[in-house]
Amino acid sequence: MIYLTNIDKYYDSKFQRTFVLKAVNLEVKEGEFLSIMGPSGSGKSTLLNIIGLLDAPSAGEYSLYDKSVLDLKEKAKVEYHRNFIGFIFQAYHLIEEMTVYENIETPLIYKGVKGRDRQAMVADLLDRFNMVAKKDLFPQQLSGGQQQLVGIARAIIGKPKLLLADEPTGNLHTTQGEMIMEVLRELNNEGMTIIQVTHNEKFAEYGKRIIRLEDGIIRKDVIKASPQPSPMEREKESKVMMVESGEPNVRIV
């Protein structure tokens, strides 16, 4: 699904070149749940931005679904954002002047989904995240966890194949963080490919694969053979558990 080959990202100043990413090679297969870890400034977010087509690499090759996406025109990038990629952010980045309902609905409007269909899709998600009663509230009237749930709902309403989460639990306390991670796991179990950036070892463990970045270089790439179900997960229906047990599609670079 995702092939990054020899990706560099650097900034030139007068006398020196500063690398943020250097010779990054990464393949992510459909259905993976990848956690990217690393200290501040190691290039995690930059890597995520490149994968999400929000930033362009300085050198290297990037193909998404077997198509090179390096020289895409703005319009083509928009198509990817509308149909393939969803984003979740540490600071939620909800649109403040929009209600919960409107925030979730926004990607569908840009996608050109008709009003009645939009209504049904938003209603489904509100129901799924237990937020029906909060649909008319504005972001500032919600708790951090609730805001992030809206952020996730907005990210997934367009049914993206790839969900990119940049420290999705960074602003949340542990309980809320766990709740968000469970949602992500559930989405992954439904087949959505997820790449998250996190500082939190515990939450990184929700991923089926963890890579560690240091100074823009991938130092470690670990595939978890059989991820341990979390306490919350054990309570889940067996149907979900069935879906979860699949072959991990990972290769060590």
Binding site: N49, D55, V78, R82, F87, H93
Partner: protein, 800 residues
């Protein structure tokens, strides 16, 4: 779009986006800009309400006396027979009509109630050419019947009830009974020829001593309008018109006799008649309107862009949700539309509040501009402005890089802000300089020596007064201790004068045209302080009826044409008067106004007071004024006192007494209005510029607070810092101000062409105006930068 407008509405109340400031700036700019532009468009809408208006033309008389003159005089007034002659002799003219203005006057109904109306004589073809909706009566019949008239719906309403069959009497023409036979819809204000009451043309003899309605030459006071057949061009009519002149005017013979004389008729589209006369004013008003709008919109864009920098993340969020550039541009467009709508409502409210002031300045009701010719162009202009104003911010917003926006997006370069700001400096210096020059010119006009006295001089019309009461009135006035002198005169210098021709000795040639003030008594010139420097002024002892005084310019011309060394005692033949003896010469004075001066030589004829009475007794409509000179110390209450005395001699106690000084000031109403428009425009532009400067310097101070703190830590004093920052700003302000001054110089040079006497465009005026703007810039910058520079540097750095 509704969703987007809803979002835009919610954004209105967010802090830090200069929303209120942007609305104030737009409201002020739109109110003033739209008011001026509507006035400009109003000027182009004159007579556009007539059906087939594009086929209606006003006949102009173009006249050149001899070869020495390279320019032809053109006037929209012709002799009485021209309009019917054109209809009869020129194929291609579908209909023709003529009107003869009687003027504005009070009139009375049989129940002794008085009303004011504009009267005109009109022929029965009027509604074929210039139709207005009819409420009752048949104009073809009414305007053919002697002493029958039609009144406007407004007058009919004022009189009340069914007006048909009622009899009215014009104050100036006592005893002339006119019967109302029809009612027409009131004419809109935007017409070249306004009337409230139309009297049949066949009644001309009742109101004028001489009926010139069938004259082919002379008595050219008729407003003639023609309607051409579809597809006929006015140029194509020239040969047939010439044929008509040959047939009825014997034009070939006259041309031969008066070598070099040219008399031609042309057809000016009725819709262009008004706007052609105010072209210069239109150009200047348009320039100022666009200057105000431009400055206001530049300020709006500057503040919007500053606000958008703070919203960079929002742009990125939308993009990650799948928004394209056009979606983001639409978002900004919706915000602009909403702010425009609010500002537009604000502007309309502002105009509504200022309506009484605006109507006085504009000289017409504001409601008159509500016609399609004004509203549609304004509507499209607003749409265009909304699109243009939202384009730049929309483009900027849609191009913010997503990855950078999520970090900490800050505008690194501020050159574009300086460019936008410099536009405001250009506008501010441009309009301030124009205001100063216009004010100076206006002051020079109202204080200029017009060649006659106005202070302490009053005049009252004697229309409607019985002849026998004139001398009693004069005696009563003379008995008032504050009144120094009382005199009589047919006209006043501020009113202009009719024209007559001085003929050559042999009577074969017309030497030149004169401004004929007709008759005055022996006190008139001394009341107005007009001296007679050659010969003698009129006196009861030395003057006889019809003796003549001529102005210096006329005397000089007579000397040249007749080879005379002296004009006093010589006889001249003047049309309408016959032969008269010149008793003296007086200096030329301003006839009309300085803006619209009448350069013809002027003449006065002598009538003693008894003669005025005698003529009034013979002809009740014979008009003249009583002039009163008061002691300079007794101004207060004089107008009321004189009016009360006049009222004792008028049957309806409706005397109209005016101060000559006030009337002269009022004759410069349009200049006064222009000056006030400049003042309002200047105030608005200065406010907008100050808002823009405050916004810019606040943003700059915030953007550069770290730099300011480091400079302070490094030992810089407040004045060091201010010098650097203010000089940065003045660096762009100086060229902008120079550009504004250049624009102002070009504009006022054009405007000043309207005046015979002009104030000199001294470089000092431009210097003072530019210094004012530069000082304003420095003061505002100093205020905002001082606040930031005075903050604790440690706090500023921590904050950073």
């Amino acid at each position: 779009m509704v969703k987007l407008l809803k979002l835009a509405f919610r954004r209105l109340f967010r802090k830090g986006e200069h929303t209120a400031t942007r609305i104030i700036s737009l409201t002020a700019g739109l109110a003033f800009g739209l008011l001026l532009l509507s006035e400009v468009l109003y000027n182009y809408s004159f007579d556009s309400f007539y059906p087939d208006t594009n086929r209606i033309y006003v006949v102009h008389e173009n006249f050149r006396r001899d070869k020495s003159l390279d320019k032809m005089d053109s006037s929209p007034r012709v002799s009485g027979a021209i309009a019917p002659g054109l209809k009869a002799d020129v194929p291609g003219i579908e209909a023709a009509t003529r009107l003869n203005n009687i003027g504005s006057s009070v009139f009375y109904t049989e129940d002794k109630k008085s009303y004011q109306a504009q009267f005109s004589l009109a022929d029965e073809n009027l509604f074929d050419v210039l139709p207005v909706p009819l409420i009752s009566g048949n104009p073809k019949e009414i305007l053919k019947s002697p002493m029958a008239c039609m009144v406007s719906s407004k007058i009919a309403e004022e009189i009340g009830g069914d007006v048909t069959g009622k009899v009215i009497e014009i104050k100036r023409y006592p005893g002339k009974k006119i019967t109302i036979a029809g009612v027409f819809a009131e004419l809109p204000e935007n017409t070249n020829y306004k009337y409230d009451i139309l009297i049949s043309m066949v009644s001309t003899g009742q109101f004028f001593s001489w009926d010139g309605s069938t004259n082919w030459l002379g008595n050219d006071r008729y407003y003639a309008a023609v309607k051409l057949s579809p597809g006929v061009s006015p140029e194509s009519l020239a040969p047939a018109v010439r044929q008509m002149q040959v047939k009825h005017q014997e034009i070939e013979r006259i041309e031969q006799q008066q070598g070099g004389m040219v008399l031609k008729y042309s057809f000016i589209p009725i819709r262009k008649l008004y706007s052609d006369g105010v072209k210069d004013m239109i150009i200047i008003l348009t320039t100022i309107a666009f200057a105000v709008l431009f400055v206001s919109f530049m300020n709006y864009i500057l503040l919007t862009l500053s606000a958008l920098i703070k919203r960079a993340k929002s742009s990125a969020i939308h993009k990650t949700c799948g928004a394209e550039a056009k979606n983001l541009q639409l978002l900004i467009l919706s915000e602009t539309v909403l702010l425009f709508l609010i500002s537009l409502v604000g502007a309309l409210l502002l105009i509504l509040i200022l309506r009484p002031v605006a109507e006085v300045q504009l000289g017409h009701k504001l409601i008159s501009v509500f016609n399609a010719h004004v509203l549609w162009p304004l509507f499209f202009l607003i749409i265009l402005l909304v699109i243009l104003t939202s384009y730049l911010p929309g483009r900027f917003f849609s191009r913010i890089p997503v990855a950078t926006a999520f970090r900490d997006y800050q505008q690194k370069k501020n050159k574009w802000k300086l460019v936008l700001l410099s536009f405001q400096f250009v506008g501010a210096s441009f309009i301030l300089t124009i205001l100063v020059i216009v004010s100076m010119q206006y002051n020079s006009l109202i204080t200029a020596d017009h060649g006659y006295r106005t202070k302490g001089v009053y005049f009252g019309a004697t229309g409607g007064m019985e002849a026998s009461k004139i001398s009693v009135l004069l005696n009563e006035l003379r008995a008032v201790p504050e009144i120094e002198k009382v005199g009589l005169g047919h006209g006043l210098p501020i009113e202009g004068a009719a024209g007559n021709n001085i003929h050559s000795d042999d009577g074969e040639k017309e030497l030149f045209n004169i401004a004929d003030f007709y008759f005055i008594d022996e006190n008139y010139l001394s009341i107005l302080d007009i001296p007679v420097f050659e010969g003698d002024s009129f006196s009861q002892q030395n003057s006889v009826v019809n003796d003549l005084l001529i102005s210096k310019r006329g005397a000089e011309k007579l000397k040249v044409f007749n080879g005379w060394k002296n004009v006093v005692g010589k006889q001249v033949d003047i049309s309408e008067h016959g032969k008269s003896t010149i008793r003296g010469v007086f200096p030329d004075f301003i006839v009309n106004t300085i803006t619209n001066p009448n350069s013809r030589p002027s003449v006065f004829y002598y009538y003693p007071a008894e003669k005025f009475e005698q003529v009034r007794a013979e002809r009740s409509s014979f008009p003249f004024y009583v002039l009163i000179k008061t002691n300079e110390t007794s101004e207060a209450g004089m107008l009321k006192k004189i009016t009360e005395i006049f009222n004792r001699f008028l049957p309806y106690q409706d005397a109209v007494v005016k101060s000559l000084e006030m009337e002269q000031k009022a004759s410069y109403q349009s200049e006064h209005g222009f000056r006030n428009a400049m003042m309002a425009g200047n105030a608005i532009i200065l406010i907008i510029t100050v808002i823009g400067l405050l916004g810019y310097t606040s943003n700059e101070a915030a953007r550069r607070r770290k730099e300011l703190a480091i400079r302070r830590i490094s030992g810089a004093t407040l004045s060091d810092i201010l010098r650097v920052f203010i000089l940065d700003l003045e660096f762009i302000a100086v060229p902008a101000v120079l550009l504004g001054l250049a624009g102002a110089w070009l504009t006022v040079s054009k405007w000043m062409q309207n005046f015979a006497t002009k104030i000199p465009l001294h470089w000092g005026i431009f210097m003072v105006c530019s210094l004012f703007i530069l000082l304003l810039v420095a003061l505002i910058a100093a205020y905002n930068y001082t606040r930031t520079a005075n903050r604790n540097p440690v706090e500023a750095l921590r904050y950073e």
